[in-house]
Symmetry: C2
Subunit: 316 residues, 2 copies
């Protein structure tokens, strides 16, 4: 009796991603040729939680024409920034039985640029990616080169961004599959970013496990050691690499269907809240993203339910 | 093993309504003092699926000042309209083991007004409530007295209404608890309507059963008989009367929390898609509602999942 009911519950949960996808997820991320009006943005993209790539949204930013590695060197080369350093390019990712966070170093941006341009060596992989509004806090000299927010998005969402982040990294710097509780407008200024996306409705096929949190430490000899964060609670994270999924271990992921897109310089990706994303980039890619806090409303409650039921039913 | 997992699933489903309510359902239906802008309407009410009562949205409609039973008699008294006739005021409701639809009679509106004003008798309870856009199709003479749609809502939703319905009924005419796949703008012109509401997230506590469909037939002697609709499939309907719930039979309904509101003449209720509603009215209440087709998007998929899981887990 209980077994039949549990089977029926699991079947509904496994059939949900395809049903949701059919109604509300496009086969490829659509392009808009210009920024939408605030109402259209909210109604056609934010409310239905659909990604899109917006063209011609940044062409009035001086950054789009000015920013290059040499411009950054001339303008903010001597400014110290937080840099994530990892042995393999994976910051915030599962390694064995640990969730390992990057070593953080404060370096003049010129040092990062030296590595990026092959003029110097540094152990591991560097990624300027501090997600604490590092653009206004660490690189305020760059602010005149862009708008402090995205006006049509701020009007649509009825709020200003919580954070404006600056990203600069090597080709081997990878952001592992995860989700954020932010509406994300991701603007590529130079180079390109490669996104692999899953809608929140794919949750039943996406494995989570609990990991002991740890941090890389860079030794004086330039090697890395993993140091446990003993004061921190275990961290739920996705162990799966969507580029090379271990389907023997996580067979249900074979039923999830990733959307892939490349965001070119001058384009802006609207990455809706709670979408799972895995990100790679071209070498020396420069990007800025705006994080707007999501609405904790019915859609959020439904996602929480999907998440709880995926766990409670033993699916993932 | 299966039992523990099923218990956990049921617990999550039972805890969901309170969690969703806490984030997104107000304790009482809020009032707006004027119509919202299209963006505000979409962002603050439609997208989060929250009801509100809008004041000062109809004051420019001649109907609000002109419509009364005597005005209707003078203007459209001789016009035939579809009238739902039931022995007890319940059209489309569960009676025993049947889902019973009303007898439908075509009557000049003056006959309905005669009954409404106590000048004549008619067996059973009368309700002009044909939800097929009966205002433009049956009473087009009344159209100049109001706008053909709600401009700020049409702009917000990006579409015109699918139906504009005219309602006129006796105090004992009741609409049983149900939901519609429409965004509903319900405008009271004269009298008042009493709504009892449940958000879609209350689904785990709301019982559904399958009933044999049937229709009342009015005999020549003025009595009613129930005639099965043999060609029709069984109809899922809510057997529960929220005004006098049979908690011995449907104990989980005690955990659902109804919102009640009264919509006065001149007020407009935004009743979001998929909200369960039970409706009563003052005698001779005149109302018009606009049905805009809902978006079949992620929120809809999530509701379908909640509905399926409520059934699959054996909750309701």
């Amino acid at each position: 009796m209980a077994e039949a009911a549990l089977d029926a519950v699991r079947r509904e949960l496994r059939e949900f991603p395809a049903a949701a996808r059919e109604l509300s997820v496009p086969l490829a991320v659509p392009y808009l040729d210009e920024p939408p009006s605030p109402l259209h943005f909210y109604r056609d993209w934010v409310c239905p939680n659909r990604p899109c790539i917006i063209r011609n949204a940044l062409q009035h930013w001086p950054a789009l024409h000015k920013w290059s590695l040499s411009y950054l060197r001339a303008t903010v080369g001597s400014t110290e920034v937080s840099v994530a350093v990892t042995p393999d390019g994976y910051a915030d990712a599962v390694q064995g039985d640990r969730f390992v966070m990057p070593a953080e170093r404060r370096l003049p941006l010129s040092c990062v640029l030296d590595v990026m341009e092959g003029r110097a060596q540094h152990p591991g992989v560097l990624y300027v990616q501090k997600q604490c509004s590092n653009l206004p806090t660490e690189l305020p000299q760059l602010l005149p080169d862009l708008e402090p927010h995205v006006p049509w998005a701020s009007e649509a969402l009825g709020k200003m961004p919580d954070a404006v982040n600056f990203w600069l990294g090597e080709a081997s710097a990878v952001t592992s599959l995860h989700k954020d509780h932010y509406e994300n407008l991701y603007c590529v200024i130079s180079g390109e970013k490669h996104f692999l996306l899953h809608p929140p409705s794919d949750r039943p096929f996406i494995p989570y496990e609990l990991y002991i949190p740890a941090t890389y430490q860079l030794t004086e000899e330039g090697s890395f050691k993993v140091v446990d964060e003993e004061a921190m609670e275990k961290v739920p994270w996705i162990p799966l690499d969507p580029l090379a999924p271990d389907l023997a271990r996580y067979p249900s992921y074979s039923q999830a269907q990733a959307l892939r897109c490349t965001v070119q310089a001058g384009e802006m990706l609207y990455l809706p809240a709670l979408w799972f994303h895995h990100v790679q980039q071209s070498h020396g890619c420069i990007a800025v993203n705006f994080w707007y806090d999501m609405e904790y409303d019915l859609k959020y409650s439904y996602f929480q339910l999907l998440d709880s039921l995926t766990k409670a039913s033993g699916l993932n």
